[in-house]
Amino acid sequence: MTMNTHPSLPEFEYVQPATLAEACEFLASHAVEARPFLGGTDVFVRMRDGFLTPQFLVDVKNLKGLNDLHFDPKAGLTLGAAVNMNRVIASPEVKAYYPLLAEACRSVASYPLRTRATIVGNICNASPAGDTIGACLTLDGVLHIHGINGPRQESMASFFLGPGKTTLKLGDVVTAIHFPIPPKGCVGMYLKLGRNQLSDLSIVGVTALGYPDSNCKSGYRFRLALASVAPVPLVPTQAETYLANHSITPESVHEAARLSTDACSPIDDVRGSARYRKQMARNLSAKALAEVWKKLN
């Protein structure tokens, strides 16, 4: 049989480990040459473009438990790493308790791509543009990781170190992401500015989540996360703190939006200039906060 794989992927070996332990061991003993993958929608593109040249691709999506979607009204939601975005969107529990997560997934690419793309892949890819990362940050996602020394958990908040860089160590496989039950009465929203309305990566993305909280002077707590404006998905904590300590008015919302823009350090790229990104980060932050506030009342 002759095979013409042009313009397909560069050569590599496909590896399908039988157990999680086997996967971790293989990855740990092939430091630079091996890479885990789920949907492959980031990995394959970067291999075709020549940015990645792994010798081994380790398919972790069929490992035990990685396809489970589990909801418990007390403990919250656990998404196995291989649960694809269309399954997240279609889940009645996600719709009922975590609509922000479904909204974020719906903004990614197209239906056929989302049959493959996963939230955990989006997170591990660690692009500042990752559309589902803001929802995972504001919903207090916790990653379940299996490494050569066994399982551990890591909070989303401290996971990102730089573009494509995370706290994951050699041999680590993320097995799931867990979300606690969201705060009572919370309202979330994801505003994505792309070159077209659907399917492109974001120029700027703003995730906002608000909920009643009697510990805050304003009576409400707001969470924010910004995409594509810094080397990592950005949580503008100063803006969050400001809103917790001031009553919510059009003026305080604008001040919070200004504070979140101050935290941005965007770059120029094909999708937009740094200056445009900064201005849009402010406008979209103000818009998202105002809309969430309106829905809270």
């Binding site: 397909s8 593109v45 239906y111 056929p112």
Partner: protein, 159 residues
């Protein structure tokens, strides 16, 4: 590079194929099995011309490894029609003139067929959202969207 022997059901036929690790499902269909209805537009997940059903769900076959399909069920545009009758979306796209050069058509048909299966009566917005990953450079989309609406009506009459 290693080769893998896989068993895969394609349009109801069980096939055994030997594939290298780096071969995509799209290339297996086109090069090894001569199912050239599945088109290669971009090889990057952007255009949707290569869309097929993998275990009932649409995927960009350029973004799936052939070796991952061991044991899977694939439906390509060649397998959409019944023995005697076209699928309603095929019927409708012919009737409504939703085809010009035809390059995007196989992907459009598969994506629309899958949409009508999960949502038999989609709104125009839902149709547009479902087809966002299927680019057409000829028709301007209006007749394609009309075709999906007509197919939905055809289906509701026959079922």
């Amino acid at each position: 590079m290693a080769f893998h022997k896989i068993n895969v059901t394609i349009n109801d036929d069980l096939e055994q194929v030997v594939v290298p690790s780096n071969m995509t499902l799209m290339h297996m269909l086109r090069e090894s099995l001569a199912l050239t209805g599945t088109k290669n537009g971009c090889s990057a997940g952007e255009c949707g011309a290569c869309t097929v059903l993998l275990n009932g769900e649409p995927v960009n076959s350029c973004m799936v490894l052939a070796v991952e399909c061991d044991g899977a069920k694939i439906v390509t545009v060649e397998g959409l029609a019944g023995k005697k009758q076209l699928d309603p979306i095929q019927e409708a796209i012919v009737q409504e003139g939703g085809v010009q050069c035809g390059f995007c058509t196989p992907g459009i048909l598969i994506s629309s067929h899958a949409l009508l299966k999960r949502n038999p009566n989609p709104s125009e917005d839902e149709i547009r959202e479902a087809l966002v990953g299927n680019l057409c450079r000829c028709t301007g989309y209006v007749r394609i969207i009309e075709s999906v609406k007509v197919a939905a009506r055809m289906q509701s009459v026959t079922t």
